[in-house]
Point group: C2
């Protein structure tokens, strides 16, 4: 429909990068784009930490579950939700700072909206990106490595760099499954999942030369049949967040 929509709909995560660093003016443009994303009541409750030190990148790669591309990418960004700055602003104005699940969510959302703008800016420059949720595998270790103060937590990381692979697009749920009109329509979702299970089964068969044949539903069951990152809430509380 237009070149921006072409860019958005051609996204795929890149997990193999050339070692080229990201020039300063590109980083500046990526962060400027991130900052102009919408922010709830202008709170801008996030901080972005660029890991440029090779030893730090190596440590973050290890903490994220030995993901080599965290170390190899030209630029590794950690998007942190940050209520610390807001607490300071509130207390230095002579008020008591209140926080709860809502402010935790707002800070996490602000970080996410900024990150997605950063991702698109990077891709518009011909770079590739990959979100790293694995940064929450060992959030204590990450918080220590990045010297995060109270009320700051690492939401996710993002590899940015010059792509050294050309992966195919990964199919998504049918649009009918995720877009409902005037109210939630379970039947649309169910029917879409049935079709998508077929699509994903074929997709994995083709990608593995017939060796693997797994539907989306089955891979979701494999993921959620046990608790995932159950340490997150205790970590957040230790970091000072009150999830009330």
């Amino acid at each position: 429909m237009n070149s921006v929509i072409d860019l958005l709909t051609r996204h795929r995560s890149i997990r193999k990068f050339k070692p080229d660093p990201i020039p300063g003016d590109q980083l500046q443009a990526i962060i400027a784009s991130a900052q102009m994303a919408s922010t709830s009541s202008s709170v801008q409750a996030y901080t972005i930490i660029a890991a440029t030190d090779p030893a730090l990148k190596k440590e973050l790669a290890r903490l994220a579950g030995n993901q080599a591309y965290v170390e190899q990418c030209g630029l590794f960004l950690v998007f942190c939700a940050d209520l610390n700055r807001l607490r300071k602003a509130t207390e230095q104005s002579g008020e008591v700072f209140h926080q709860n699940t809502e402010s935790f969510l707002v800070a996490s959302m602000d970080a996410a909206l900024a990150a997605q703008n950063a991702a698109i800016a990077a891709e518009s420059l011909g770079l590739g990106i990959c979100y790293i949720g694995g940064i929450r595998n060992n959030p204590d270790g990450v918080a220590e490595a990045l010297k995060l103060p109270e009320l700051v937590y690492p939401v996710f990381g993002m590899c940015v760099g010059v792509p050294d692979q050309e992966p195919s697009l990964r199919p998504r749920l049918p649009q009918t499954a995720v877009l409902h009109e005037n109210g939630y329509q379970s039947d649309r979702s169910d029917e879409g999942v049935r079709r998508y299970d077929e699509t994903t089964r074929k997709y994995y068969e083709e990608r593995t030369g017939g060796k693997q044949s797994i539907t989306w539903s089955r891979s979701m069951a494999d993921k959620y049949r046990q608790p995932v990152r159950a340490h997150l809430k205790p970590f957040l509380e230790k970091q000072g967040f009150r999830l009330e």
Copy 2:
């Protein structure tokens, strides 16, 4: 630096719209863009509800705190975090579904990344957007109006439409305040806030012809000196989310 970055850095929220509806092919492209955003392990844990019924839009405008533009915009989207679809997929595969704070966060993030792609796609088509966090003012009412099942909650709304105003860009924190290198740097944040307080004081003075003069820090203190949306956690638990 390029036209995409120009688009990203020219964003401002639009709160006055012409009544024109959004053509079907534009809606289709906006949602297709949303769906190609990154998603944690392909979980795609969100559902987008397009409110097209005028009575429903009116009710959502009321629930969001009488925000007239919710009713007036050509298209009102509600981005919902959705673990319901994942629970079904897991249970229909014969497994027990586990959820916690991590899966709540993943679903909320997935909704946010999709939403930001939708926002950019819409803006690339010359449309304006405004996130509506006010949808969480009365989430029970919204969940009822949209017939949301268990494990689905409205993260935020988004007005989309033909702009009928040309607001100026709202200044952001200095880049030095939000971008740190190799570790959290409180001094950078503090110094940035000091400069930003000056910027925002001047910005509001100019915008109000000298009548209002408030810094960012003071407006944050005014926001956080009392609990904001303390009902959110009980609502989420009632909706079936286990924030453990």
